[in-house]
Symmetry: C2
Subunit: 203 residues, 2 copies
């Protein structure tokens, strides 16, 4: 595999990612990807035999990026407060750098919900291990009794939803003022962490 080939392949992948993330599999056009990459359609098929295969090459990476590595943050000896703040901060940062990721992943999950399980099995996330940590915190009297699924869904939901609902939030709540929307996102890095900690900490 020559230098040039690697470079072309990468160019195609970047172009494909851009188009697929914006339009989704059904909405994306091979022609648009080719244009974006500055090549022609035939070359796409030369590198990736079909649209499906090209898509798969994009999706797995995007999905793994979307899934925050809860285990890594939760399994440490920092305080629960530090863990929540670290998680929310890092995750919102990542989403700001990849604002289309959530809608893309969600859309395609619905299209073929089966593919994800294999990817998840390969991931390093270990819910049981995290659940044990959580139980320790609860029994130590630091936080309320909340199950891991609820806590995870709440944390991720609070981080992700502003990106999913962007058209409504920016358009309606902020009258299409993009600066106001971005300021809103920035505020959330501390606000969401405070919100979660207030909700789960025992008083």
């Amino acid at each position: 595999m020559s230098e040039q080939e690697l470079s072309t392949e990468k160019t195609i992948l970047e172009a494909a990612k851009k188009v697929f993330l914006d339009k989704g599999f059904d909405g994306a056009r091979m022609q648009e990807i080719a244009d974006e990459a500055g090549i022609n359609k035939a070359l796409l098929h030369y590198y990736f035999r079909s649209k499906d295969k090209l898509f798969d090459a994009i999706f797995e990476e995007a999905f793994k990026q979307f899934l925050p590595n809860i285990s890594e943050i939760m399994v440490s000896d920092r305080s629960i407060e530090e863990k929540v703040r670290a998680f929310v901060g890092h995750y919102i940062d990542m989403l700001q750098n990849n604002p289309y990721l959530p809608v893309f992943v969600i859309r395609e999950l619905q299209r073929k919900p089966d593919t994800i399980l294999e990817i998840l099995k390969k991931s390093k996330i270990n819910p049981i291990q995290v659940a044990v940590i959580l139980k320790q915190q609860t029994e130590g009297g630091q936080i309320i009794d909340i199950s891991l699924p609820h806590l995870i869904v709440n944390m991720i939901g609070l981080c992700v939803f502003p990106f999913i609902g962007r058209p409504i939030i920016e358009g309606f709540l902020f009258n299409n003022n993009t600066e106001a929307y971005n300021a809103f996102l920035l505020e959330r890095k501390t606000l969401v962490a405070d919100f979660i900690l207030n909700a789960i900490k025992l008083k």
Copy 2:
């Protein structure tokens, strides 16, 4: 317009709603909608000139259904606790009856983000009025100082996200156990309300 015509139109709309909600605009096929309605493609075009127009007939209603009427619940003289519990309970109920609604709306919002503003203008939601109510609660020393956008996004996000992330939650957190997932949803009607109230109530 005869009885029969109304009936056929309704049948088409129901079929279209089912297919569009599942596949999205790009993924939906007029043939599939016709099959679902037990008629043929030509008749679809007879009633709704184009796929676009048929889609529009579905989308506006779905979008209005998806938008919870915050104003109606917030503008009342009930306590903040009652308001939050009523909102979360009703909204999760509605989502359980329309589990595909969130992903559908989100997907199509991304496709044409402009259309929503007109729909929203026509809605009865009045953010300013709600913001005033919120301010009163804050100044009355009942809840923490949180802006309306953050509170709305948090409340809606916590309700909606379990439906958006269903494939991951049901598939991974609950090992594809649908009963466990449904039980989880049921728990959330009180859990989410508690979570929000804990987070915002002044101690």
